[in-house]
Symmetry: C2
Subunit: 309 residues, 2 copies
């Protein structure tokens, strides 16, 4: 039933809100993109309602809508507890607000969990039982599939790999967590590190984005290569910790920074191998996410169609 | 059914093998203790068979036997893959060997997982859904109950909290894992650190065991107090990492080192609170194991009586 039904998947990002009508892993139709930052919460909710009703009007077979949001989401009670980088969303009962105005079944979830579910159901994580998913972007998020189910934890917050420490006396994270991974390998941190390193080498970098640094490294630029080696090691150390704890069969890396591809993956695989016991890495796959930026919408749509637990 | 039936629980330690007839959380009768190191694998297996048959003879209602072992145990196929600190056990099909000679249902498992299951079923972890268990002894082991089930991971090795790194450039663990927690807070490491620290203060310590150091700290001895504060911080940092990843409702600490009690627990709770987001620690309980050294036997007996999954 899940694969045959149509649902709306909405990816509520810090910059834009994207929506689509989804069938299984297929994007049937893309909706209008909404600007996140120019509106307050109530206006955004009105815009979401408008978009859902418009898509439902065009695709009357749509059975449900799923929304993934960046922050703490109580998916069981349908409440947005707090958003990261979007103001005015605190304890917002978004699910019921949308349900009432659209007449659809609605599911809301954390965006990294939605992406994890999408990758497991239809992407790189298919056929695996224990999947650890990392999203490497502005921040570093994550999600877990354990024993073939999306694992949420007691406060529904599980999977925050980016907040885990790789150095107990390291750079402070946002929550007192010294050495938090995302303070090393977040987008802005990578750019900042590159700028400093090039400056030290007496060079100015016109574009120090992760994408530009990946391009430079692929052309053999030594400073960029060294930086990716470091970033891969840092992510690898965090992954090794997760591997010791959860002994997964698959680690999936997605998000913009993961587009560095083998520059990153080769090092991550090597570091996990160097820092864990054989039985923990012998059959472990470290894979790139497959659904790209659509993973959130696809995952949310699938979660919305899932029968209640 | 589980609580009413009798089973034999066996705790196969690096020094001694203890056995008992168990009913639920109750030790009905203790068996003979077997010395682990003086015999090879086949002699130990013969001794185990003798002990099981003797207990079965005294308690004919015994329905099953469970054995917890220190190392990599394939509990699904009943094979001891490798033991820690006990030689001659590699790929040993212990379950079927014992089954054949005793006529009982037999379950074999990793000792930390057996202890985790015991504490969750009958000890400090009752009424919790997501439980992280640490055993602080010669080594640091662990086990996980997730969504109300014992979580094993894809290679059946999950829960190795003692191998997780608290410092990516720290002290080498046994598997290339720099900064492995157990290389800071294992029994021998605590003693070694205390010796060094007292020597630096121009003092000789007659007994630098964790128990003696806990007694000294309770009497207000400043060097010992400082050491426990450090140890608590190190364990707290590792726990905070696990809490970010799994968002459990309960962390249980057992094993000899945990007998330091509030000297350790107060610091661990504080460090988790300081290094995680509110929603991750607001309802988290950090508790002492309740079943003491019987947890392994009790957990194994319960696992042996469990209907097949």
């Amino acid at each position: 039933m899940e694969n045959d039904s149509l649902a709306i998947g909405i990816d509520f990002g810090g910059t834009t809100i994207k929506s689509a009508v989804v069938s299984g892993a297929e994007i049937v139709h893309r909706g209008t993109t909404i600007d996140t930052q120019s509106r307050g919460a109530s206006q955004l909710i009105a815009a979401l309602v408008g978009e859902i009703l418009s898509l439902k009007g065009q695709f009357p077979a749509v059975a449900a809508a799923g929304i993934g949001l960046p922050g703490i989401v109580d998916s069981v009670n349908g409440i947005v507890r707090q958003l990261t980088n979007v103001k005015g969303w605190t304890e917002t009962p978004l699910r019921d607000l949308l349900k009432e105005k659209t007449g659809l079944r609605v599911h809301i979830d954390n965006d990294a969990k939605a992406m994890t579910y999408g990758e497991w159901k239809f992407g790189a994580g298919r056929d695996f039982t224990n999947v650890v998913c990392l999203t490497l972007g502005t921040g570093v998020g994550g999600g877990l599939i354990l024993d073939g189910r999306l694992y949420r934890g007691s406060g529904l917050g599980a999977g925050e790999i980016g907040q885990m420490s790789i150095d107990r006396n390291g750079v402070p994270g946002n929550y007192g967590n010294l050495g938090a991974l995302e303070k090393y390998v977040g987008n802005a941190q990578i750019t900042e590190r590159a700028r400093r390193r090039y400056a030290a080498a007496g060079r100015v970098l016109p574009d120090a984005s992760p994408a530009a640094l990946a391009a430079a490294a692929r052309e053999g630029e030594p400073v960029a290569l060294e930086l990716w080696e470091e970033i891969g090691t840092e992510i690898g150390v965090a992954c090794a910790n997760v591997v010791w704890l959860l002994n997964p069969d698959c680690v999936i890396l997605g998000g913009g920074v993961a587009n560095a591809g083998e520059l990153l993956f080769t090092t991550i695989r090597r570091v996990i191998g160097e820092r864990t016991m054989h039985v923990f890495h012998e059959r472990l796959e470290v894979l790139a996410a497959k659904l790209g930026t659509d993973a959130g919408m696809i995952g949310c749509a699938a979660l919305a169609l899932r029968p209640p637990e």
